[in-house]
Symmetry: C2
Subunit: 362 residues, 2 copies
């Protein structure tokens, strides 16, 4: 039973870090017989340059047919030469929605080897080990009405809509509770129930799901502003954090400050199980396309490589291999392997390729 992976390197540093993640996965195909078949597809700016389409039909069909995607990065605002329609067509948001990949997992772990380069004191972050479960297919990102309208007096007004149905909240909550059961059994649900009615509904539905089937997991509710503060003050108190699409976007970057660089952080976005019990999935590093360092071979590939480890765990059902890969990353860091973003003055800086070599060697 072969597992079909579509590789979408995307823009900026996407191709260089994705190349390394693919090389690492190839290692598992060859040495551990993990049955992956990977095919690379053009997407976004690169596809626009080659074929004048940000989402060629062949790419979209491959995405929809695949078991999982390995995604690099997408350029955000530097696509002004591409018509707006085409930008939307080739957007990451369309892929997330198309896959119905509602459960975005963003693990954040303090790396003892990086204690020096972290902006935080070691006593603040040591032992941090949390997963943010960000709802990824609803909320502010997809709500309508949206857009800019001209008012009767001729001036403009911009509108976006934050919308959540009970079903959308409930499935994110269930996912978080299930995940907490495999971890330390604690869920923090984050909203602005003191200001937003939709946040009040979020809180009510999460509580109902908890009451109905997850009383073995502890649940606390936290306001989003307080969560932003606590992620900086006391990150070790969190196990699983579940929140909506927009708060999840900000809060995962708050948490990302812990190791000093987003370059380390992986993510997975999972759909509901299909008929065969498997979830469609999109794996991507949390960092963006970083156009300023693209093409230089200096980007940190660990976010992409750790995303490949999540692929081994969640799509290839190969937890031992996922553990082995995570341990290899840890070992490489412990041995002093550093890309520029996580190096301290005086430390030897590795290229993207050399960092991946260090992981493969480990």
């Amino acid at each position: 039973m072969t597992i079909d992976i579509v590789v979408l390197p995307g823009d900026g540093i996407g191709p260089e870090v994705t190349d390394e993640a693919v090389r690492v996965l190839d290692w598992f195909v060859q040495h551990r017989a993990v049955p992956l078949r990977m095919q690379r597809r053009l997407f976004g700016s690169a596809a626009w340059a080659a074929e004048r389409s940000t989402m060629p039909d062949a790419t979209w069909n491959a995405i929809m047919a695949a078991d999982a995607l390995l995604f690099g990065a997408t350029g955000s605002l530097d696509q002004t030469h591409i018509p707006p329609d085409e930008r939307r067509k080739g957007s990451l948001l369309r892929i997330r929605k198309g896959l119905d990949a509602f459960a975005n997992l963003r693990p954040v772990k303090a790396q003892p080897a990086l204690a020096e380069s972290s902006p935080f004191k070691a006593r603040t972050v040591a032992g941090t080990d949390m997963v943010i479960v960000r709802e990824l297919t609803a909320g502010m990102y997809f709500g309508t009405p949206r857009g800019v309208e001209t008012q009767p007096d001729g001036t403009r007004r911009g509108v976006n809509t934050h919308s959540y149905t009970e079903a959308e909240i409930a499935r994110a909550a269930r996912f978080a509770f299930e995940l907490a059961r495999t971890r330390r059994g604690h869920v923090t649900s984050v909203d602005k129930a003191n200001v937003m009615e939709a946040g009040r509904l979020w809180r009510d539905v999460v509580t109902e799901v908890h009451e109905a089937g997850y009383k073995d997991v502890t649940l606390e509710h936290m306001l989003a502003d307080n969560c932003a503060l606590q992620l900086g003050r006391a990150p070790t108190r969190f196990d699983v954090v579940v929140t909506d699409n927009l708060f999840g976007d900000l809060l995962s970057d708050c948490a990302g400050a812990i190791n000093g660089s987003l370059g380390m952080l992986p993510s997975a976005a999972l759909s509901a199980p299909r008929e065969d019990g498997r979830r469609r999935a999109l794996y991507e590093p949390v960092h963006g396309s970083a156009p300023d360092i693209a093409g230089k071979g200096i980007a940190n590939p660990l976010g992409a490589i750790l995303s490949a480890a999540m692929l081994l765990r969640w799509t290839a059902n190969a937890p031992a291999e996922a553990d082995a890969l995570e341990a290899a990353v840890q070992a490489a860091l412990d041995a002093g392997a550093r890309t520029a973003d996580i190096a301290m003055p005086g430390e030897t800086v590795l290229s993207t390729r050399a960092m991946a070599d260090a992981v493969i060697a480990a």
Copy 2:
């Protein structure tokens, strides 16, 4: 010309910290002839307990007639015994809107004396000196439609609307640029223009205001998620940050982690200038009502006292006195004065009252 101040102690630790701020202001009335007249009014839960109204007419009329409010804290979700209508009537949001206090200033300064108790390394935060200008009367907090509706299939859906007019964005931007001129001349405008059309409008209008009259100030745009990260990684890079109501709520708590406690942070919310050129204003510490420590006399009064310093600066037009008060807070901290929230193991902990005494003595 007497300046009328309405004091609203509110809930939880609100009364105890506000008492100290009033005592400090009284000192300036007596020793520096600052012409303040302060009157205390019931509001929120306390008013409900006393008069079965969260916003007695006398309070509302006093608020609307005053030059400024000195506000303590408001309980957020622990008001379940109060009918929803009454909760809204006595809400802080209604006061902010009623005063049209659109420009919320939240200064964040690293306190060298607190370097030990900060969760961050000293090298990260040393020299941090920024003001977040949060738009306070529009956006997600006030947009309609809002609420929870029952869908045709009987399940619920929650909706809130993020809405900004060109005029609302422009006045916040102008305020930020004017403020930057009195500081280091740099503005960071924060949005999610890559996802939200209203964020795209925010970015466009801020750019237009900049082009039209503030080319002497430097302007950069930043995505909100990246800003959350940069506030943790490199807070010294910010001078004035301008953003919408909801992002401002989260990002000011991110920045608040810098000293380890929200207890230190003041804020001011200012209206457009009235006919006499003065702005109506609401001064409040950034921290909340902290019901867990209320009534114990251990809360940190510095957020309230520094809010009083902002009152001296912005409402009483007494910048020398404001500077003197800020210097006194600094001196008290330098001399080792610590409330429980900012004390390190082994340090002597002062009560709320004793901390204020230390400031007054200085």
